[in-house]
């Protein structure tokens, strides 16, 4: 290690590198995709701290804003649109996939060790001062590149952003073909329809099963169909009334009282 590293930086490195590795392990080992995504966010934030600690503030900011913010956001939303609970099945669909995966992973590891190793051994770094002396800092350097040399590319990027937003609107925004009914209209329609205008009976009665899938009980003890939302009924998700529960609730109340 060179002489420019002090104690604080060493601590930051070990803490953040440890957390980043933990996040990476969590990403791979989690069963649920959403958990993986959150672990990945942990890794990314720690990498951002490491970038900033290494005097690369722009990289750190981009890591937080773009990767932890935007890319992770997109990951999460894609996962949610696909289905939160969708965990991968462990059955191989292509024969030898797992063996090939392990092999390629090892190959990548060797490649990275070799690449980083040769970069550490064979190359003399120019140093931060040399890199920053032209513009007085790497953010300023980036600014000069973006706003002078690559100005056209920068301004043209706005066309990409516009296309992205417009594409999202065109594909995902549901427009209405009729004006949205106001509350007054809805209310009138309800009374004019001739059906019972009031609330339907609410589901569930007692605390343990005060859930939308538990029907309310009529005075004679039979469940009320109306109290359960129609989609649940159609799906067959209505919980059967369990009269034993009521005695159990009485027991709990006794226990709490003592």
């Amino acid at each position: 290690m060179s002489e420019g590293i002090n104690l604080g930086e060493t601590i930051v490195f070990w803490v953040c590198a440890g957390l980043a590795t933990l996040g990476a392990l969590g990403l791979v080992l989690s069963r649920k995709a959403v958990h993986s995504a959150l672990w990945m966010a942990l890794t990314m934030i720690n990498l951002a701290i490491l970038y900033v600690a290494n005097s690369a503030p722009f990289l750190g900011m981009v890591q937080v804003i773009v990767y932890t913010g935007a890319v992770m956001m997109l990951f999460l939303f894609v996962l949610m649109v696909v289905g939160v609970d969708a965990s991968d099945s462990l059955i191989e669909t292509i024969k030898g996939q797992r063996a090939a995966g392990v092999l390629l992973g090892l190959a990548l590891g060797v490649l990275m060790v070799w690449g980083i190793g040769s970069a550490l051994a064979g190359v003399a770094p120019a140093g931060l001062e040399r890199a920053n002396e032209i513009d007085g800092g790497n953010v300023q350097g980036i600014a000069r590149m973006i706003f002078t040399d690559y100005l056209v590319a920068f301004e043209a990027t706005s066309a990409l952003l516009i296309t992205a937003a417009m594409g999202a609107m065109v594909l995902a925004h549901r427009e209405r073909w009729a004006a949205r009914p106001t509350q007054e209209q809805l209310s009138k329609a309800r009374f004019l329809s001739g059906e019972h205008p009031g609330n339907k009976p609410s589901p569930g009665i007692y605390a343990r099963h005060n859930a939308v899938d538990t029907p309310a009980l009529l005075p004679d003890g039979t469940p009320s169909e109306l109290s359960v939302p129609r989609p649940l009924r159609a799906r067959g998700d209505v919980r059967p009334v369990d009269h034993a529960d009521m005695t159990e609730i009485a027991e709990i109340e006794e226990v709490d009282a003592t």
Binding site: T148, D149, Y150, L151, V152, T163, G167
Partner: protein, 523 residues
């Protein structure tokens, strides 16, 4: 940290050197981007019924104005915007062609007569196919006018793509060109699931090719320390030993571009996307993306990788042969006319590659001529496909075209012209194009390649002529498609496509001279 930075006085600040940009030379790009912005504003603030006419005015005025600016810049040779944009003969020629072809494509997209329920696009692309919402929007005559800003941005990306002189701006241009096309591909009014599937495939494979291009650019930067095409060329000549960074980098950048061109083995997206997209978009994409991608490919090969010619030429040799053979042979087995033209476009890419491989001034000129000829023919062919219909939409199965020549001789004749041109029959533009590409290749010593190319064209001629025979020598039956009566838009586009195809075949000299004068890239 640099504490003194906080105490700095304004007087101490050394401002950056301002970039020098020749706005006159990049005006076509700026006009199309401005038109895109304007047409987003139209979408935002003009009431629904008024949007279409205003959009059409914005788009057509912008295309014509940009074309005028290209004409005004004719003969310029300059590198501007700090070396990121190179305006030169091939660039301007391709920009001009792109704008004219885009004009015809815009006319096809604006067509509202051939489909009784509206244009070729879903009334609202966000509705579920077959839903009540979709029915209601259709009934109320909604039109998805967002196609126009997307179209403008796509064209501006193409214009930038053919003149970009560094890999970064080339990548940005590639994306500006492609993103709107991914969207447009999924917005067909009929057979929407097929269209959405096409968009998905196009997007995923397009993203993959972009990744290849970007990774290759990074490797080339690692090799040369720059992303400027001329600097990369200098580094290739300056460094005596060739590193694997350069080899893999160059290969990946070329793969990215060959994906867009639709060369075998990077062609898998082509048939599905051509078939699923709304026909005007297919025509637009088939003609213009091919021009833009070949423009960029030629620039990368001639400007940046000229010193590597002995390395890439054999690779492109093989790819050209594969592309011609696979495209032509698989096209024979197709029963859907859009799919057949998709494979035909793959084969045509192979013929253009023959001119590219030649790597001479004649090779470049012949490839440029081929691109011009191919683009106008293609747009015309898709105009006809959009018109042959039945009650459920376009009748694209080949059996539905049997006897079409008896039923609608004029349209069938136009389609025959396009088929003959694609087959390379004399007196059409396709013949001159093939002839000049083959002569350039023979002059460069690629005789074997030309022999394969001639054989592939013979195979290709079979399926092109089969359609012609089917149209004119079969009796029209109840299954024969009806040719819808189009508005002035499609009529003009079709007439222009046919006229250019014939004129380039009969009096090709002016255009041949034009490409011969524009056959050197600026370095």
């Amino acid at each position: 940290m640099s504490a003194p930075a906080f105490g700095m006085h304004l007087a101490d600040v050394v401002p950056f050197n301002l970039p020098s940009i020749d706005y006159r030379l990049i005006a076509p790009i700026l006009i199309l981007m401005g038109a895109g912005l304007l047409s987003v504003l139209v979408e935002a603030f003009i009431p629904r019924r008024g949007r279409r006419p205003v959009q059409l005015i914005v788009v057509f005025v912008a295309l014509l104005a940009a074309f005028a600016m290209v004409l005004a810049a004719a003969g310029s040779r300059a590198v501007t915007a700090e070396g990121s944009i190179a305006i030169d003969g091939p660039g301007l020629l391709l920009q001009g062609t792109l704008l004219l072809v885009a004009l015809l494509a815009a006319m096809l997209m604006a067509e509202r007569m051939v489909d009784p329920s509206g244009d070729a696009f879903a009334p609202r692309a966000s509705t579920l196919p077959g839903s009540e919402d979709e029915r209601q929007f259709t009934q109320r005559g909604y039109l998805q006018t967002e196609i126009w800003p997307l179209f403008c941005f796509s064209v501006s990306g193409m214009l930038l793509f053919v003149v970009s002189n560094d890999l970064l701006i080339m990548f940005v241009a590639l994306e500006i060109m492609s993103l709107p096309l991914y969207l447009l591909a999924g917005m067909a009014r009929r057979r929407r699931l097929l269209s959405q599937e096409a968009a998905m495939k196009y997007f995923l494979l397009g993203a993959l090719s972009s990744a290849f291009f970007l990774y290759g650019s990074a490797l080339l930067y690692g090799f040369s320390g720059s992303i400027d095409l001329p600097v990369i060329a200098d580094q290739i000549t300056a460094k005596p030993s060739q590193s694997w960074l350069l080899m893999i980098g160059a290969a990946f950048v070329l793969i990215g571009l060959l994906f867009k061109v639709g060369a075998v083995p990077f062609h898998q997206w082509v048939p599905d996307v051509y078939q699923g997209s709304p026909t005007p978009v297919t025509g637009f994409m088939a003609a213009t993306v091919k021009i833009a991608a070949f423009g960029a490919l030629l620039r990368v090969l001639y400007v940046a990788l000229g010193g590597l010619q002995w390395d890439w030429a054999p690779m492109l040799w093989i790819i050209a042969i594969l592309t011609m053979v696979v495209g032509s042979v698989i096209a024979i087995t197709q029963t859907d006319i859009k799919r057949m033209l998709a494979y035909s476009s793959i084969a045509q890419a192979g013929f253009i590659l023959v001119g590219v491989v030649a790597a001479t001034r004649e090779g470049l000129a012949s490839a440029l001529f081929y691109l011009i000829a191919y683009a106008f023919t293609t747009i015309g062919a898709f105009a006809v496909i959009a018109m042959a219909r039945d009650s459920s939409g376009e009748a694209t199965h080949l059996s539905r075209w049997a006897g079409l020549g008896r039923k609608s001789p004029i349209v069938a004749t136009a389609f025959t012209i396009f088929m003959l041109a694609l087959a390379g029959i004399p007196l059409t533009s396709g013949f001159i194009a093939k002839f000049s590409v083959f002569t350039a290749a023979i002059a460069a010593g690629d005789t074997w390649l030309v022999i394969v190319a001639v054989l592939a064209s013979l195979v290709a001629a079979f399926f092109y002529l089969r359609v012609v025979v089917l149209m004119f020598f079969a009796e029209p039956g109840p299954e024969t498609a009806t040719v819808a009566v189009p508005s002035v838009f499609t009529t003009v586009a079709l007439a222009a496509g046919a006229t250019v195809t014939v004129v380039l075949g009969v009096v090709p000299q002016p255009v041949l001279e034009m490409v011969a004068n524009a056959d050197v890239f600026i370095r």
